[in-house]
Every structure is written in structure tokens, then in C-alpha cells.
């Protein structure tokens, strides 16, 4: 057997993921912070547009980090992760649609850049809830 996911040491997956996700999050925050300055000081309109898109790069990097984590963990952890992701996707979708109605009712409209933090927070909360549920099932 062992599948590709089981051929590497599973017990180090969490630590590696933590290091990589902190690094990509730091890159995202840095990109968001320097974005206005870079766009304002760009020599050409094309460079200004590139500067404005800059935070998207760490987001794609984050997806790669999550995929790497998925490949490192074992089958049970993969199942839990997929379950968490599915529920978080549903919760994020509901939150985003709900807020769009609230914005229509008078709340300030939010930029699309809020989508990523919303998804990340939904995922973290879902993970915590499912972990508690599973702990109580023991």
C-alpha cells in the first residue's frame, strides 16, 4: 500500500503546515500594506495594476500550502479536512450572501478583499466546532 500521502512522516505535517501558513499570511499582510505605496509610485499604469494585484500572489501560495498539508496528512485527517472545508465553504457562502442583503438594506458595502478573511475565519471556526464535536464523541 502506502499511498503517496502515507509515504512521508505524518507527525511532522502539522509543524510544517504552521510554518508555511504563517509565512504566506505574513506575505499577504505585507503585500496588502505595501500595495497602495507601490501602486502610487509605479512608473507605468501597467506596473500600478500589477502592484494592485500583488496580494493575490500569496493567496495562491496559500492554496498551494494547504494542498501540501493535505498531501502530508493521513487518510483520516484528510477526511476531517475535507469535511471542515465543505462546511466552511457553505458557511462562507451563507455569510457572503447574507451580508449582500444587509448591504442592500443599508449597511456599508464591503470590498471583495474581505472574502478571503471571511473564508479563513469560517474555516477556523468550523474546524474548532468539529474538533469539539469529535472530542465529545470519544
Amino acid at each position: 500500500m502506502p499511498s503517496a500521502a502515507l509515504s512521508k512522516p505524518v507527525k511532522y505535517a502539522g509543524r510544517a503546515y504552521l510554518i508555511e501558513i504563517v509565512a504566506t499570511t505574513a506575505l499577504y499582510v505585507a503585500a496588502v500594506l505595501v500595495r497602495p505605496w507601490l501602486a502610487g509610485h509605479a512608473a507605468t499604469p501597467a506596473l500600478a495594476a500589477a502592484a494592485k494585484v500583488l496580494p493575490a500572489l500569496p493567496i495562491w501560495l496559500t492554496l498551494w500550502v494547504v494542498w501540501r498539508y493535505y498531501r502530508r496528512i493521513d487518510e483520516f485527517e484528510q477526511l476531517k479536512m475535507l469535511k471542515t472545508t465543505a462546511v466552511a465553504f457553505g458557511a462562507s457562502s451563507c455569510l457572503i450572501v447574507t451580508y449582500s442583503f444587509l448591504a442592500d438594506a443599508g449597511l456599508p458595502p464591503l470590498a471583495l478583499t474581505w472574502a478571503w478573511p471571511t473564508i479563513a475565519v469560517s474555516w477556523a471556526i468550523t474546524n474548532a466546532i468539529l474538533s469539539i464535536v469529535e472530542h465529545n464523541e470519544k
Binding site: 502515507l6 512521508k8 493521513d74 487518510e75 483520516f76 469529535e134
Partner: protein, 62 residues
């Protein structure tokens, strides 16, 4: 699916963490299998059987 993994593990004097290391899975996975919350895939079941030198049906019961 029921199993006698805790009994076999006890016979060998293995902790959940040691068995998890031998199978390259997390300790939580071993715990989930032992408590019947998770049924392992066939490849993992074969690997478990290999660790204890038993047939799958001697470890996992319908």
C-alpha cells in the same frame, strides 16, 4: 466496524503513538479506529494487519 486493535496493541505493549509511528498515521487516527469512529481504508487495514502479523478479518470484525 468493531476491531480488537486495543487488545492486540496491548499484547505488543505498544502505545497508540508508537503504533501510529509504525503506520505513519497520526495518533488521533489510531484512536478513531480503536473507538470505531473511523473505518480504515483497505490499504491501511492491510498495513495494520502486517504490523501484528494477522489477517485483516482477525483484527476487524463485521
Amino acid at each position: 466496524m468493531k476491531n480488537n486493535l486495543p487488545h492486540l496493541r496491548g499484547e505488543r505493549g505498544l502505545t497508540q503513538a508508537q503504533l501510529a509511528d509504525a503506520l505513519n498515521v497520526s495518533r488521533q487516527t489510531i484512536n478513531a479506529i480503536e473507538t470505531g469512529r473511523y473505518d480504515p481504508s483497505l490499504p491501511l487495514a492491510f498495513a495494520i494487519a502486517g504490523v501484528f502479523n494477522r489477517r485483516i478479518e482477525e483484527i476487524f470484525l463485521p
